[in-house]
Homo-oligomer: 588 residues x 2
Amino acid sequence: MEKAQAKLELQPEGEQDPEAEAAARALLTDLYQFTMAVAYWRAGRAREPAEFELFFRRCPFGSSFALAAGLRDCMRFLRTFRLRPADIKYLASVLPPDTDPEFFEYLQGLDCSGVTIRAQPEGSLAFAHVPLLCVSGPLLLVQILETPLLCLINYARWGLRRRTRASLRAGGPGESGRHAAHSRFLASSSLVATNAARLRLIAGPEKRLLEMGLRRAQGPDGGLTASTYSYLGGFDSSSNVLAGQLRGVPVAGTLAHSFVTSFSGSEQPHAPMLAPASGQGLPRDLSTLAKSWLGKVCECLGLRAEETHPGERAAFVAYALAFPKAFQGLLDSYSVMRSGLPNFLAVALALAELGYRAVGVRLDSGDLLQQAWEIRSIFRKCASRFQVPWLEAVSIAVSNNIDEKVLTRLARKDSEVNLIGIGTSVVTCPLQPSLGCVYKLVSVRGQPCRKLTEDSEKQTLPGTKAAFRLYDPEGAPILDLLQLEEEPAPRAGQELRVWPLDVSGGDCRSLTLTPASLEPLLRVYFHLGQVCEPIPSLAESRTLAQKSLGCLSPSHKRLEHPEPYQVALSEKLHALLKGLVQSNQEGP
Amino acid sequence: MEKAQAKLELQPEGEQDPEAEAAARALLTDLYQFTMAVAYWRAGRAREPAEFELFFRRCPFGSSFALAAGLRDCMRFLRTFRLRPADIKYLASVLPPDTDPEFFEYLQGLDCSGVTIRAQPEGSLAFAHVPLLCVSGPLLLVQILETPLLCLINYARWGLRRRTRASLRAGGPGESGRHAAHSRFLASSSLVATNAARLRLIAGPEKRLLEMGLRRAQGPDGGLTASTYSYLGGFDSSSNVLAGQLRGVPVAGTLAHSFVTSFSGSEQPHAPMLAPASGQGLPRDLSTLAKSWLGKVCECLGLRAEETHPGERAAFVAYALAFPKAFQGLLDSYSVMRSGLPNFLAVALALAELGYRAVGVRLDSGDLLQQAWEIRSIFRKCASRFQVPWLEAVSIAVSNNIDEKVLTRLARKDSEVNLIGIGTSVVTCPLQPSLGCVYKLVSVRGQPCRKLTEDSEKQTLPGTKAAFRLYDPEGAPILDLLQLEEEPAPRAGQELRVWPLDVSGGDCRSLTLTPASLEPLLRVYFHLGQVCEPIPSLAESRTLAQKSLGCLSPSHKRLEHPEPYQVALSEKLHALLKGLVQSNQEGP
């Protein structure tokens, strides 16, 4: 797994990268990026140095945090960005017919060799308004990159639901701050990794979480992205084989109802002989053996063997013959208690007689918690009755539209569920299915830029910035600080005056604090067209995510009504912002 | 546009298809498909003839209809399906170590040459439980195809929100029927095309609808799918250039705030000379000309020219110089009424003086309907004052989180909005973001199969089927009929006894009706590995969708609480279903 990741990092050109070709689609962008490109070019501004910031305005799902993820996809795109002759020809066919032909010649040479990217590390905690990516380079090019970068980042990332102020506070960390009303009508953006992290927080560290949402994903790479980033956010594995092959996500799987129902039981069992696990002794007919065990199981449980479905048992036998060391049963194709469970036990005990251990059962309907209790109790009964101690601990997996609420119940302390398969609600982020990252111009030719729209929600923070995370003496993050890049970095142990962020430009009180330690948040990953710092492997990023979440105070980590995490501006940045707001109010 | 589509159809091998490589990812599937494959193969059943049906159980968004879409993606996948040596090697590394090595040899020869697909035509109306795809072929293979087909279809398609009965009725079309409670907790699946069709129904036929959600889509092909199928569902165009290049969707675009804010106004205007449209007369300095027009505009509107932003005007001039015949202004980077609008008018009137016509303005914040009224009134005032009649009719485009509710307001009869850009709410289907198609085994070796779980919601209809749509004398569809494939087709003008569908197997009354006309719903598009009927172009499917929707009765088309559309079973299929339910209740 780690090897596959490492290999990607060593391919600066991306030719061997199986995903590079798809990633390299330079026309994956909005047409207006190219109409603007014509206009920048016509105005002689194509190569002016500019910087855009990619950030989100509100954490998703009402959480106070998000996880940074998706950097690798961005690097892959940038490394291979080029307009092929066919792309340019197509553009010429859709741009206005009087577009200067020289513009299309200019496009031929366009690549990312002038682009530099600073970013927050993959898997780290991220908060509203702190840039995830700072993209600097020639104005025309970094403008064109807007849509593909948002498209790549947004799905792997964040959104908005609460109004901005809910994620900001006027006071220090100890004060209660002001909360704003939810803005429910903005059913909007989301992050698979953050979503997965929430589900992991609910499930606790013990339950195994399997992502199985490929069939519910938004197309093939929606599925790939979902599988990759749910793993980063804290899932244990995915059913998506392609995510395993391309991204190194551990894969897992069992069997489906169609397999079970495809057996009627009237089939002649095919090659039913199975040799004992030890290799010693004669092979036995597993089908016959299971049938004889069925009688004993039904007797023990007070069931009628005639009520069990023979096709289901034939399916279990077929599966056990294929995987005698990894037998699993799907119990609810017919009746769980009257058919699925006794059939599973019959096959599991037949295998046991040959020295094999069954590994698990899965339930896909009904009251999952209740059934898991009943099944565990029957496992215990049979383990004791038939002296097969391991049977007691056979893994119980459940699935079927599991969302945060259902998961909360399944994760109860006394739950007997071991593995939880989640599809739809992890890959589609139903709590907040749409996506809210934005990409805003912050400087041109070194001069800070700012959109000063009448809609204060949509205003932006001007200038090229640095960002720092400030920690308390226990190592918990207390605040993210944004400042202008040219300012000296704050120092640990030194008192600092900062301005809690209020994008509306309204009045707010400053506060002073002394960080016990701090770290810069933005690292240069891509410098003038070259990847200059390796992106950690997916598994490393997953570890970082869990570690960062572990340090975050429980009050911020709470899933319902968390205390908002504070983002603040340096004095200088605050002054710049105030100055621009004022000059706009007075007119230019 | 049509050419691009036609080309795809002529490439049976897909080698030249720019999307084929990505589509051909045979490992885009759940691992359990391969564990089951091992077990089918081990049981000697790999090549048994089998049929799966792909269908949805409830129409999305509380609608009574959905649109069939996504067939082309499925054909592309099937045509190119093959496991490469690297895929097989990867599978061997993740399947249990004792998997029989011969299985992997078997996989090497696997392709879709034994697969046949019947499907509803692309763009036609589709209803719950009527198969969208019937996939027949060797059991092992058609099982493996489950996940990729669902992944490809689901995003392009449907979902569930209401409980099944809400979409079924016991009585005939004239009766009121029974409605069940909504099942809100099942926040689930959706269809971009259906979503787009709903938005088109709200907008009415006149307003132009632009899909601009690429940056909010679930990754690159989520974006491509969204752009393609929102066009099919009734949008006019997309901002997504790749969807234009690969799928022939008409593309459109304007300019963004970053373009406007990148100009400070202090720049030296670059090559500001513009020749008159007629080609006769001397070039004029557009920047100077616009400045002089600004004075007149402000005087006419009672505004102060000093309040307008010079950077915004410089941006408009730059855009107009690049596209003198297609000038558009984005009005809300600063103040719409005090800066954006007078700057736009200044540049538009300067262009007018040179014989050019501006084409539009865009608003991206604030009260869009109200502003459009004000802007139109100012356009009229200036058109009359400066004797530029076309100015009155300049297109007003709006965007900014437009959902069904906002659209309803913007589509009012007296609205002055001409073009509506919709992003998030068309591509992410927030009303129902997750997806609900299922893929169920209906026959093996010619024998009907059925999952008879205790969860009646999850039960399936057995047997290989035919499906017909029955029409009333006015050509409105009244009912979809499912029957066994071997039954004779129903005939127009002949009385028919049918059983309204009740998947729970409960009692329901039959009804008799006499269709004025009917049409078979399932066509063979792919026969034994070959595309055997060309899939209509995207534009043709779009036309079919609008035509089919046009025939549907308004009571079914209503977006809130529509009358459910009826699906019914033939006597024979009903009897088979009853028999299987009964035999299961009595035990096998």
